[in-house]
């Protein structure tokens, strides 16, 4: 009997996202496993690594009372390029309109991280973003400048505007991610 029609391998699947999504989950597990290995060293003083609880992984660290370090893991394919300002802060930077309140994507990296401060207060010893990709130059420069500045007044004008813009957007969320520019900077 002759059967007409193409074989499975001859037709492009409608979508292949499943495999890529699966790999992204594996990447998260691999980074968690890598972090867990630090339990084997004396220097790290880590007590436990929690997997996918409040964040992709959380390191419990220090002498009792221990504190938590939250880690958000995001893998991306090389075709997606480096992370940009909007993806990182969840707020778009539109030149000339920075005084208007912008909408915040609460699923972006920083908004999700800030929730841990709100939930855990002093027990939150740090927030970290773990990725296989890089940051685009503008975002990288912005973060470096902010990290190297004593306060927001020390920021160059354009960066100060960008910082204020993010702070206003975060203050407008419900509940607010940060009440003020000063609080966000701290």
């Amino acid at each position: 009997m002759v059967i007409a029609g193409p074989r499975l391998g001859q037709v492009e699947p409608r979508e292949r996202a499943g495999a890529q999504t699966g790999r992204k989950y594996e990447y998260q597990y691999e980074r968690t496993a890598r972090a867990a290995l630090d339990l084997l060293t004396d220097t790290a003083k880590h007590v436990c690594i929690y997997c996918d609880w409040h964040d992709d992984y959380v390191i419990e660290t220090g002498d009792p009372p221990t504190r938590y370090m939250f880690h958000q893991v995001k893998g991306r394919t090389s075709s997606q390029g480096p992370w940009d300002f909007r993806e990182f802060f969840g707020v778009s930077l539109k030149k000339g309109k920075s005084s208007r309140k912008a909408a915040t994507n609460l699923k972006a990296i920083v908004p999700r991280m800030l929730l841990h401060y709100a939930n855990f207060g002093d027990n939150c010893v740090g927030l970290a973003f773990v990725t296989n990709a890089g940051l685009n130059p503008a975002l990288s420069e912005f973060l470096q400048t902010v990290a190297g500045s004593a306060d927001t007044n020390a920021l160059p004008r354009e960066m100060r505007n960008a910082f204020d813009h993010v702070a206003r957007a975060y203050a407008a969320t419900n509940p607010p991610l940060a009440m003020s520019t000063a609080e966000l900077f701290a």
């Binding site: 790999r23 992204k24 594996e26 990447y27 597990y29 691999e30 980074r31 968690t32 496993a33 890598r34 867990a36 290995l37 339990l39 084997l40 060293t41 004396d42 007590v47 436990c48 690594i49 929690y50 997997c51 996918d52 609880w53 419990e60 893998g75 991306r76 394919t77 090389s78 970290a128 973003f129 773990v130 990725t131 296989n132 990709a133 890089g134 940051l135 973060l143």
Partner: protein, 201 residues
């Protein structure tokens, strides 16, 4: 901010990275195949903890660690290292407990003493404590002589009986060397401490 971490395009490269860290941290002698299998096992532990979804909030720290956490004991079991011996070593004043345990375990396997690994680790810990306390009381030359005697023990054919006999003998020679009494257990700790050093990769 941790950028450029790991490999998303290649699962194999990701496993190799983890395997490399396993070796660096533990000094366990592994072929590449075994090392990758250990890496796979650790990732699998993570996958299992991620999949756990029956934790009821509020829950205690201990319960949450069991449900969603990975602790050092979980890793030691993947690495086939004794958790009890690890705890014994941690009770001392030494550093790098995992590497020390890995070296001690390798030494014990070579000399058919693996069943004594917990006690040997306790001796090693008691030596670390003794040395920490006595480092200001015992002269450098006495330490040198003591270590030299311990080293001599390692040169001959090693049985537990011989190590014990030699340790008792060393105590007779050095018992008044410090303020805290030197015991055969402490000297055995010194001997196995030097044995561990000799197993460094």
């Amino acid at each position: 901010m941790h950028t450029d971490q790991g490999q998303i395009e290649s699962a194999d490269a990701a496993l190799l990275e983890i395997a490399h860290v396993v070796f660096n941290y533990s000094e366990i002698e592994l072929g590449q195949r075994q090392a990758k299998q250990i890496a796979r096992d650790i990732v699998s532990q993570v996958r299992g903890k991620v999949a756990h979804h029956t934790t009821i909030v509020p829950t205690s720290d201990e319960q949450l660690r069991r449900d969603k956490g990975i602790v050092v004991g979980d890793l030691l079991s993947v690495l086939s290292l004794s958790a009890q011996a690890y705890d014994a070593l941690r009770a001392g004043a030494g550093s790098d407990a995992v590497k020390t345990l890995s070296r001690l375990q390798r030494f014990c396997e070579k000399h058919d003493m693996q069943k004594f690994i917990v006690q040997i680790s306790e001796f090693k810990a008691s030596w670390d404590v003794w040395r920490t306390i006595e480092r200001h009381n015992v002269s450098g030359t006495d330490f040198l002589l003591l270590e030299n005697r311990a080293n001599e023990v390692l040169k001959g054919k090693l049985t537990l009986e011989r190590v014990v006999a030699e340790a008792k003998d060393i105590v007779k020679q050095f018992e008044m060397v410090g303020v805290t009494p030197l015991t055969p257990e402490v000297v055995m700790g010194l001997i196995f401490s030097m044995a561990a050093q000799s197993e460094a990769l």
